[in-house]
Symmetry: D2
Subunit: 96 residues, 4 copies
């Protein structure tokens, strides 16, 4: 856990929350489909929708990180290198 005063996503925090609440609802909906023995292909379609929504949230966080957190590193080459390394770790995990 890092202690940074400004979150890159602060400006869009409400949008981020709404999206995550919707994804939580999607995952609950998938559980309900399983409970009701719905057809695998229909369940898979809902999983793909939840994954696309999570990807969108992740890309929004990466964008906010580059725009708002990394901007603070102007002139501090060591900190910038560190943050670029963190960013690449995160992007690498998303790319899979």
């Amino acid at each position: 856990m890092n202690e940074h005063p400004v979150r890159g996503y602060s400006a869009d925090k409400d949008q981020l929350r709404r999206r995550l609440a919707r994804i939580e609802g999607q995952v609950r909906g998938i559980q309900k489909m399983v409970d009701e023995d719905r057809y695998c292909i229909d369940v898979l379609q809902q999983i793909a929708a939840a994954q696309a929504a999570l990807n969108k949230v992740a890309l929004g966080l990466v964008d906010g990180h580059v725009r708002h957190c990394m901007v603070e590193t102007d002139g501090d080459a060591r900190r910038r290198d560190e943050m670029t390394g963190e960013l690449m770790g995160a992007v690498g995990r998303l790319v899979g």
Copy 2:
């Protein structure tokens, strides 16, 4: 919504439910991290974990579909073609 008597995942339904309940908890945890203004990179790591867990559920559903649903199509070429088409649609959405 299709009406098929046997779900491919029925045998593993409890495991599937447990996994989806855990993913719901992960998404709730991500919302909490956002509420607490946690560092973007840490939030991204949790999103990647939830995505990996959803992928695992999806692959389990594909496996169950091939093993249990498609097996019923033995000798029915038309139905097999239809199910292969559905399967490929689902796999294509997962591959992205």
Copy 3:
């Protein structure tokens, strides 16, 4: 290396070859862009195009495998299980 008399992709072999030849050309084009010091973002766009083309080839192979190879397993539960396992390994690697 397995010895199976019928390839799932045999029917579409020419299309498959043409696609792969085109991808080889795309990769050569990317090398040329690097030689010419082209802008990273433009190079990345071409890499994404080559990846999309490889994905399409891979999905075509999966489709052919299910339609043509797995059909031979009718009534042979052990062989079907084995081929489903192979298929899931391949799909899992594509999903990443």
Copy 4:
């Protein structure tokens, strides 16, 4: 086509070339496998290897772009915004 004096990947240009030459060889190897009617699953494994190698090249380019190109935008908020937009477009295509 953009006209930027410094490529982010210049320092690693030789490594990048070697990797792309190897990927070109992988794609040619896949064509040979198809010509020889090799088993679909074995072909799919080689496609997954080529995709992983392309992903690695792409992540290296993103890293170089952030470290070397975007560093030039210090103090130029408009240009930084533009480059972040380009970067996110590229990352979004990789994430799929």
